[in-house]
């Protein structure tokens, strides 16, 4: 969180309504999102209690484990969940495009991908655990489950892993996404309460949001008072209807909030890089589907050393790219970098479009631009710059003093003796330049998995899920 966001929070607190901290939407929103609100039994790691899910706001599907300690009912619940989620997920595999790759075979990429929308990060974590607890099950052997259950487990595991990938929109958590676009007048901790956060954005704060009788928690944990006073007696009564009705009361309010939140996010124009990140999501999704089709084993319990290191490197790269893209897409995000002096914006006051360096064959066109800015520039001469206004352009800082910045354009103005039309900003134009750029160092060279050094455990054994995985208790 930056000072800019802190200021927005102060303003929100003062005005009694959340303040925008983004001018565009940085998350992809599916035309047909699968809203998924799971509940778990308190005190258990991954014992599902209920879920409401669906792609249409007026058709929520409620799934309930009416006797949460019964293992068979739990797997039956997982099978029901699979019956709803798998057709949704697999429905995106039919329509594909062929993607050509350099030095590799072309592959098929789904034109669209599924999107599971969860209320909060805890819901995302629980979904991942659901995946972990079901992906090793088997349809045959001593404790058989429906074949759809392990398949669901592998997909949920995949979605869970992908959710940790910065900028991925396959399984967003609503409170996080709202928090990326609005600053409420409360702390980040309190923003984890969906009703409270949404209240700040829409009507302004209300103590009702913290009253579990009015707004039950958005899961996966249930309200302890509800557990004691409603759920426990209902389970004890042995009446499936009563348990179902009790859980419905806990899920319905959140269901409405979720769609409200989606509407709010949909009201923002989409950021320029969102489609590109979604394309990565689609590629990744197709890759996972291909692995499943090829009969690959379930994801291992733990990554080997090389896999873990390369995963970490990928996450870091994605994080950096995501931050840069958001800044380029959104002046309000860029403003954070302007505040710290890594970016500046202002009006072009002077240009020398035909300025060149060197003579004869080594003569290079280097148009000069002078910008007047109020921003505190903290960039050294020679710093490479980019600009959201012309994403292909490269520039270099020449000097910066007294609110005047001179820079020379080094890339993206054509190959002629004079710059291509429109490639150099005109006098009077408002522009922004920043030292943030989207090109990264390549990843550190990691050995192949087979060459894992002994310091890191040596080459990992091929992962073969065993009987033990399949029979693991789920109690």
């Amino acid at each position: 969180m930056s000072l800019l966001t802190s200021l927005a929070r102060l303003r929100a607190l003062d005005e009694g309504i959340a303040q925008p901290i983004a001018t565009v939407r940085h998350v992809h929103l599916s035309a047909r999102p699968m809203v998924f609100i799971p509940l778990k039994l308190s005190g258990e790691a991954a014992a599902p209690l209920a879920a409401v899910l669906g792609t249409e706001r007026d058709r929520p599907h409620l799934l309930v484990v009416t006797q949460p300690r019964n293992r068979d009912l739990r797997f039956a619940w997982a099978a029901e969940l699979a019956g709803l989620l798998l057709p949704y997920i697999e429905g995106f595999l039919a329509a594909t495009e062929t993607v050509e790759r350099r030095n590799a075979d072309p592959y098929e990429r789904a034109l669209d991908a599924p999107q599971l929308v969860l209320p909060n990060p805890a819901g995302v974590a629980f979904t991942r655990l659901l995946g972990r607890s079901t992906r090793f099950r088997r349809a045959d052997g001593p404790y058989p489950v429906p074949a759809s259950v392990p398949l669901l487990g592998r997909w949920l595991t995949y979605f869970g892993e992908r959710a940790a990938f910065p900028g991925s929109s396959l399984m967003p958590a609503v409170t996080e996404e709202l928090g990326r676009h609005w600053a409420s007048g409360q702390s980040g901790l309190e923003d984890a309460n969906l009703a409270a956060q949404l209240g700040w954005i829409t009507e302004g704060p209300s103590d009702d949001a913290e009253d579990p009788l009015i707004w039950p928690p958005a899961g996966p944990a249930t309200d302890p008072g509800f557990d004691a006073e409603v759920l426990a007696p209902a389970i004890e009564s042995g009446s499936a209807e009563r348990v179902t009705e009790a859980l419905r009361t806990q899920l319905e309010p959140t269901w409405r909030l979720m769609w409200r939140a989606i509407d709010l996010l949909a009201g923002l124009p989409e950021g320029a890089s969102v489609a590109q990140r979604w394309e990565h999501d689609r590629g990744s999704f197709s890759g996972m589907a291909a692995q499943l089709a090829e009969g690959a084993p379930p994801q291992a319990r733990r990554d080997g050393a090389v896999a873990a290191a390369s995963r970490l490197a990928r996450l870091e790269r994605a994080q950096a790219a995501y931050e840069v893209q958001r800044a380029y897409d959104d002046p309000l995000v860029m403003a954070e970098h302007r505040l710290t002096g890594e970016a500046f914006a202002g009006e072009v006051v002077e240009t020398d479009p035909e300025h060149a360096e060197g003579e004869g064959r080594s003569r290079k066109l280097r148009p000069l631009v002078v910008i007047k800015t109020d921003d505190p520039v903290r960039l050294a001469p020679g710093t490479a710059l980019g600009t959201p206004q012309r994403r292909a352009q490269g520039a270099q800082l020449v000097s910066a003093r007294d609110g005047l910045v001179t820079l020379k354009i080094t890339k993206g103005m054509g190959r002629g003796r004079t710059p291509a039309p429109g490639s150099v900003p005109e006098v009077g134009e408002r522009v922004c330049y920043t030292s943030l750029t989207d090109d990264f160092q390549g990843s550190a060279a990691l050995p192949e998995a087979e060459a894992t050094p002994w310091t890191h455990g040596g080459p990992p054994r091929e992962y073969e899920p065993g009987d033990e995985d399949a029979r693991e208790e789920w109690s």
């Binding site: 000072l3 308190s42 005190g43 309000l332 505190p376």
Partner: protein, 366 residues
């Protein structure tokens, strides 16, 4: 310590438990909490009486689950626990002696525990191995808090180990970090209490290992698994905080002489003191509210309400407060940002940043 008793007045003292003691370290700068805890005041009752009941509760399912799991670990003479101690710490096969300290009446349990541990520390070889629910004590600002660790194990190289049984799961070798941290803080309280007991008895306190044994269910089953947990850091924090508690005198000196947090309970234990009067009294001791209090302190909603009325930047979290460089009120910070207010000495830099931030926000949202 008479002054602390006066603060509590006629309200019965609320004994500390390990979690409460561990939580003392959560917000060391809060004078209100230090005084209330030092005087042994029931913060939960006070908060409810003030109309700000704390937002915590525990699900009966979680409680049952915890009890069932503890029973399972200890069933059949701690059969599961012995297996884990043998595997994890190399406990010799011959060491199986089990003492159920809870077999002794409540009033004798602490003395019995002392006698057992004294004998263990003295005789070594012939002492017990597993002590179920011993009762330890710890002095908090002049009052004795009684503490009941799940198990204390002895005979691992002549050292005592605290065994902490928790029902959160360890999945593929990983557990919820916040749950582990809470367990470590709680276990540190037991380590400290046991060390002090040994010192009083004339033994080397360091015979209590700083590695506690954390027992949790593994993956999704009920099967227990043990892991060692180093609590040296938590011990350090705790000792520092407790030594500060004994320095309550300084806090007391700053209070009006007639200040009391007495709830004036009637014979049914229900508070009769006017809530507004109690609220005024509490405001006499300065709080340091932070959103973290919402998960740690019974009075959190009262203090949050106070912070709201004061328009304190504390409401937004420590991070925001730190970033504002100590500008304590929302109005002041916004005034600096708008330029409506001139920076006081030392505020020039934060004022410049805020003005710049305000300019940028206006520009981008225009």
């Amino acid at each position: 310590m008479n002054r602390l008793d006066a603060l509590r007045g006629t309200t019965p003292q609320k004994p500390h438990d390990a979690r409460a003691i561990a939580a003392l370290a959560a917000n060391p700068g809060c004078a209100r909490r230090a005084l209330l805890d030092g005087a042994g005041i029931d913060k939960d009752a006070a908060a409810r009486h003030l109309g700000f009941p704390a937002p915590f509760g525990q699900s009966p399912f979680a409680i049952t689950r915890g009890n069932v799991f503890e029973a399972l670990v200890k069933a059949d003479g701690c059969a599961e626990l012995l297996r884990m101690l043998r595997e994890l710490l190399g406990l010799p096969i011959a060491e199986v002696a089990y003492h159920d300290v809870e077999n002794v009446g409540a009033h004798l349990r602490h003395a019995h525990t002392r006698a057992l541990f004294d004998r263990a520390a003295r005789d070594g070889g012939d002492a017990g191995t597993v002590y179920d629910h011993p009762l330890l004590s710890l002095d908090i600002a002049g009052h004795t808090a009684y503490l009941e660790p799940d198990v204390v194990a002895f005979q691992l190289g002549g050292r005592f180990h605290i065994v902490e049984i928790k029902s959160f799961a360890v999945i593929d070798g990983q557990a919820d970090p916040s749950a582990v941290a809470a367990a470590a803080r709680q276990a540190a309280v037991y380590v400290l209490a046991l060390r002090r007991m040994l010192r009083e008895l004339g033994h080397d306190p360091l015979r209590v290992a700083h590695d506690v044994v954390l027992v949790c269910p593994e993956n999704f089953a009920n099967r227990p698994v043990a892991s060692p947990l180093d609590v040296r850091r938590q011990l350090g924090v705790l000792e520092r905080q407790l030594s500060r508690m004994t320095g309550l005198d300084r806090l007391l000196d700053g209070l009006p002489a007639d200040l009391t947090f007495d709830l004036l309970p009637d014979e049914d234990g229900l508070p009769t003191r006017p809530a507004a009067e109690l609220a005024d009294a509490l405001r006499g001791a300065t709080a340091r509210y932070a959103p973290d209090c919402l998960s740690a302190c019974d009075l959190c909603f009262f203090c949050r309400d106070e912070a709201r009325q004061e328009g304190a930047t504390d409401l937004l979290g420590r991070h925001v407060r730190d970033e504002l460089g100590g500008v304590a009120s929302v109005g002041e910070a916004l005034g600096l940002a708008d330029g409506a207010r001139d920076p006081a000495e030392g505020q020039e830099e934060i004022a410049r940043l805020l003005r710049n931030a305000e300019r940028l926000r206006r520009e981008c949202l225009a």
